[in-house]
């Protein structure tokens, strides 16, 4: 099923026949989750392409399958479950590092999990996922998040924002060279508002900045989270007895 749809759509999904889909955007998505019921549910929720603009071009149930489907279909966004047979979402991210970094049409990952434990969230974000949403999310929000990820933004749920704040809160007296990894005051403010349940638009209004600025702040946070050095990660994990 995945192969035929993948083949017919081709690479230029953005200019496809989806003009009816509201703003006319199209996005090609691969679903990775080991529960068939859940995949079916998500498919039913977001897969009505003419309304949502989301086209599910492939599905996978474990790590190996995911890697091959992703390399074969080259979707724009992968909805990735964190707990998978064969090594979990982190393993998929590791093995897809090449397609993720591709200059032409990069594949972006959005983690979608029932778990909201800190180690899962931080793990896949450090692995390179562009966002993290929990399975309680509504269909509309999920579609919205997919598009945001496709455009290169990060999707932060309030909970994820909380974890990030927590992770960076312990770096109170860092040496100079770690300054690069710390959050600026503004980024903290943005994260705080997201953690309080504000949408990006509301954050922008609250701080008298544009939505674009909010998004760039959030992306900066994501980059720092991925870049922040091993030392800090170890400390963070040790503080929470994860290691």
């Amino acid at each position: 099923m995945s192969d035929e749809t993948g083949a017919t759509t081709g690479a230029d999904g953005a200019t496809g026949p989806g003009a009816a889909g509201g703003p006319g955007r199209r996005v090609r998505v691969v679903l990775v989750d080991d529960h068939r019921m859940f995949r079916t549910g998500v498919q039913a929720e977001i897969g009505r392409t003419d309304i949502t603009g989301v086209e599910v071009v492939g599905e996978a149930a474990d790590v190996d399958q995911a890697v091959s489907v992703i390399t074969a279909t080259r979707p724009e966004v992968v909805l990735l479950d964190v707990h998978l047979p064969g090594g979990g979402g982190v393993e998929v991210l590791r093995r897809c590092a090449a397609v993720m970094a591709a200059a032409e049409d990069p594949v972006r990952f959005l983690a979608l999990s029932v778990s909201d434990a800190a180690e899962d969230v931080i793990g896949v974000i450090r692995g390179g996922a562009r966002g993290y949403v929990t399975k309680t999310i509504t269909g509309d929000d999920l579609v919205d998040s997919i598009f945001r990820v496709q455009e290169g933004d990060a999707v932060f749920s309030p909970r994820l924002a909380g974890f990030v704040l927590d992770a960076f809160a312990s770096t109170d007296a860092p040496p100079v060279d770690e300054d690069l990894d710390r959050l600026t005051q503004r980024e903290r403010e943005v994260l705080r508002l997201i953690a309080r349940g504000y949408a990006y638009k509301e954050v922008a209004k609250q701080l008298y900045i544009s939505v674009k600025t909010v998004e760039s702040h959030v992306s900066a946070v994501l980059r720092k989270l991925q870049l922040s050095n091993r030392h800090e990660l170890t400390r963070w994990a040790a503080a929470r007895r994860l290691v």
């Binding site: 434990a117 309030p158 909380g162 704040l165 705080r192 309080r196 349940g197």
Partner: protein
Amino acid sequence: MSATARVTDLDEPPVRRLYRSADGRWLGGVARGLAGHLGLPVAWVRAVFAVLVFTEGLGLLLYAIFWIVVPLGVGGRDKPLTVFERTEDGRRRLRKPDRGQILALVALAIGASVFIANLRIDGETGRYVWPAMLIGLGVVLVWRQADNARRDTWTGRAVTHGRGFHLVRGLVGVALVGTGLAVFVVVRGSVAQIGTALTAAVAVLTGIALLAGPWLIRMSQDLTAERTLRIRAQERAEVAAHVHDSVLHTLTLIQRNADDAGEVRRLARAQERELRNWLYKPEGTGGDEEPTTLAEAVKRAAAEVEDKHGVPLEVVVVGDCPLDEKLVAQMKAAREAMVNAAKYGGEGGAVQVYAEVEGRTVFVSVRDRGPGFDLDEVPEDRMGVRESIIGRMQRNGGTARLRAVPGGGTEVELEMERADG
């Protein structure tokens, strides 16, 4: 559910069960256990045993049978009556034995001497009596030892006297039994044969050890494996029991309330939270005791409000600190804000609760996406917001801000300085 059952189990004293008493026993704890079981003074029981010894050693026989059959336990009398409390070794004289016990002791001594005198020691049978008594003494020593070991394992108490003492006692017991057996062999033949007899005994023992050794090791390994399996099975049974108790019941309730979306949501969320707690929290936490840290308190309050009003609350906590008086007040205000948000703003979706500890400041925000309201239009006599939230925060030296945009939801921001550090 199961927890309460277990508690009542423990609370009810096992009155009708017969145990050998581990507390204040002289030998095997038989007399004390019986006394506790029958509700008689222990001295009487001991006296009866002593008297029975006169009748051809029946008392000894009975005592031995009880010792073998009845398990060691914590039966017996309540504490004040124990005489030689947990000191079988040397320190017994420190306690004053009461008259009854002295009597019992005397009776025991007389009984023993009469018993011994009755036997014609110098006669034919006498040759067997002394070895038999030696063996008996050794067996008593070793068995008593085994009892101690068992009691230590199930009380989880550290061994009061070192391993050396146990070892010496065990060895003495074994030596006594060995000597008795050797003497048995010898009295049947002549003294000259003692060397041969001992050599033969040692040879046989070595042979048995060589033959049975591997088998014994295998058996102990099997035992260990069996124990791990059993532990695993128990674990699985516990999981099954929990899933049965909570999850299946909730699913049944959900089926029954399938038409009531709100109720179904409430049940599902409560169950989800409970299961998460059970799966990811270490044992001992999540009980009914009062929360001691801010994060716990926020989550607890949110969970309660969520259960009561059927509106999902999304909680994000950054940092944590112990609760002090001012923070308790802040928690109460926050809870009130959560209740308000759930009651009036729950239609617009999940209520967001955010708490952050930053340095000395504790910040809590409760935000809903309901219709919002105009604070100025709230009648003077409505005390909820003014007293429970704003007033309470101000009385405790904190601040409360209320943002209530008509159509844009309501947000309550509570800020408080911690009392210390």
